[in-house]
């Protein structure tokens, strides 16, 4: 199930950044936050809470922590506070983050 973006399509340009969201190739604009890129791509939830409720970015300014996603292996990343980079791998989070996915291991 994929929901259309809740935002209007942006005029296309030659400058874009390609990344993946849950394995799907997505084009973002330079300067987009990860949250903006996700919202432009789809109207779906960006994560599900422990109780299974769908959530997406809410405040867009780092206050609410509702846009937590996995960015390049780092879970619990505030998607609204990170800018997109070429080749970025973004995953939506289901419930709490998994400790074993911690890329730096024995912190």
């Amino acid at each position: 199930m994929s929901t259309a973006s809740r935002f209007k399509a942006r005029p296309s340009t030659n400058h874009f950044i390609s990344l993946t969201i849950d394995g799907q190739s997505v084009l973002a604009k330079p300067g987009d936050s990860v949250a903006a890129a996700m919202l432009a791509y789809s109207g779906d939830a960006m994560r599900h809470t422990v109780k299974g409720s769908p959530r997406a970015a809410y405040c867009m300014m780092g206050v609410c922590f509702d846009c937590l996603v996995e960015v390049d292996g780092y879970p619990n990343t505030q998607a609204c506070m990170v800018q997109v980079k070429e080749g970025m791998v973004i995953r939506r989070q289901q419930g709490l983050r998994k400790l074993k996915k911690e890329p730096t291991g024995g912190e």
């Binding site: 604009k29 987009d32 779906d44």
Partner: protein, 461 residues
């Protein structure tokens, strides 16, 4: 490298930017920290890279550009994507970037962290597609994203300004669902004469309302009893009452606004005294006319010292900087007082409209006292009913509510639920003490804390 700066400013919005410039112009060494990747704060966000900025930022576009350009002044060090998570008694400012923490120290610290939106609660406000209007504005400014057929709900200057921005950008809202009542305007009228010095701002507001009318946006007034549900097509259905009649609108996105409140977590965690502002229905720090707090060397200016808007923030930032320059012996008291006259006048003029606005757009009691099924704490998914039950069971303040039902224990640290918990407690006749805020006020990993070696820390006293 203890006290390598004269002044550390936290937040590069209008207050922080004007303070940085004022201080550096008078030879002080300034460190300006901001969580975002660029300066501007929310109001002038991403202003530098806009092609036709005036259509997005309105009359304030030039002001914003000028403030940002002046950050090039010698003596200002800029650190972006820097999240400040602690300020201690010795004015050590601890900030984090890319999972590495740093300590910067100065004799004076000025907090200019701005404001956040007062959460607007109703059943379904946590669903994807429900956002505050400020969030939509951020997406418009920094990514050129325009909401599709948005329904705007609530009241207040920002709601109307965003409606106008969307109309101008070719993405007119589908409807404007206004919580305003004629009674609120009537009540505010008595504050109108004192708002005359801010005539320009008043007229701007009138022009916005005319622009919304001219665009023939469907408008509902005196609205209440909001609830949002998801439709089968993943759209959102907003049901509400307008003038007593039940209404429903379906839209992909619903943008809410219910006023803004000062961001106080960092100041509260640093021990700054706060008080309740009845007129603005929010907690704000106790500061004098220069922005000085009860803690020596700690100052607050701009919206985080009390909501006043960008013009007030700019003047307050300048005043705080002049006072700090005087305290640091860069300028004399006489120089401070002479240089500050204009800023005081400017601030008084800009503030004169507040009483009118605050009364005309008072937050609706119903929205601050949500129904039992409404989620209050988004992080921990705690409903208003659970909070009321904890009070029945003996919770006698915000602290006990927190430990009983976990409201405020999630990563946002109560930023979104503290105001509502307070109103619920007040409605249950429970004393509403100031909610605690403790550092780290932003999540920091244990490894990051450990990496701050003791030796680094103790060199700064």
């Amino acid at each position: 490298m203890a006290n390598e700066f004269d002044l550390i400013i936290v937040g590069a919005g209008p207050a922080g930017m004007s303070a940085a410039y004022t201080a550096a112009k008078n030879k002080a060494k300034v460190l300006l920290l901001d969580e975002q990747p660029y300066a501007g704060g929310q109001i002038f966000r991403n202003i530098e890279s806009q092609v036709n900025g005036e259509s997005i930022y309105g009359d304030e576009y030039e002001t914003g550009k000028a403030l940002i350009n002046r950050l090039g002044t010698q003596g200002i060090s800029l650190e972006f994507r820097a999240s400040v998570w602690r300020i201690d008694e010795a004015r050590n400012v601890l900030w984090s970037r890319d999972e590495v923490s740093h300590i910067s120290t100065a004799r004076h610290v000025l907090l200019t962290g701005g404001a956040q939106e007062r959460p607007m609660l109703f059943p379904g406000w946590t669903l994807p597609g429900v956002m505050p209007v400020g969030a939509a504005q951020i997406l418009m400014k920094s990514s050129g994203l325009l909401p599709r057929d948005a329904v705007l709900v609530g009241s207040g200057p920002l709601l109307y300004w965003v409606a106008v921005q969307l109309i101008r950008a070719g993405a007119p809202p589908k409807a404007l669902v206004d919580t305003q009542t004629p009674a609120m305007y009537l009540k505010a009228l008595k504050h109108l004469p004192q708002a005359l010095p801010a005539m320009v701002t008043l007229l701007k507001g009138v022009r916005y309302l005319q622009e919304i009318r001219a665009a023939k946006i469907k408008r509902f007034s005196r609205s209440s009893d909001f609830a949002v549900t998801e439709t089968d097509h993943n759209e959102l259905c907003l049901s509400f009452k307008s003038k007593g009649f039940a209404q429903q609108i379906t839209a992909p996105i619903i943008l809410t606004h219910h006023g803004i409140i000062p961001a106080t977590n960092l100041a509260r965690s640093a021990g700054v005294k706060h008080e309740w502002n009845e007129q603005q229905q929010c907690i704000q720090p106790v500061v004098d006319g220069w922005g000085q707090t009860n803690i020596s060397g700690l100052h607050i200016a701009g919206d985080s010292a009390g909501i006043g808007g960008a013009e007030v923030a700019q003047a307050s930032g300048q005043l705080a900087a002049l006072n700090i320059l005087c305290l640091s012996s860069y300028i004399s008291k006489l120089e401070r007082d002479t240089a500050s006259r204009k800023a005081f006048t400017k601030r008084r003029r800009a503030m004169s409209i507040r009483a009118f606005l605050d009364v005309a757009y008072t937050p609706l009691a119903e929205l601050q006292l949500p129904s039992n099924e409404t989620i209050v704490c988004r992080c921990e998914e705690v409903t208003a009913g659970e909070i009321r039950r904890s009070v029945e069971q003996g919770a006698d303040g915000p602290r006990q509510v927190k430990t009983t039902v976990r409201a405020g224990m999630g990563p946002c640290q109560g930023r979104l639920c503290d105001p509502t918990v307070r109103t619920i407690l007040a409605s249950c006749q429970v004393p509403t003490s100031l909610p605690n805020a403790r550092s780290p006020v932003k999540p920091v990993k244990l490894g990051e804390l450990a990496a701050l070696s003791n030796s680094t820390f103790h060199n700064h006293d």
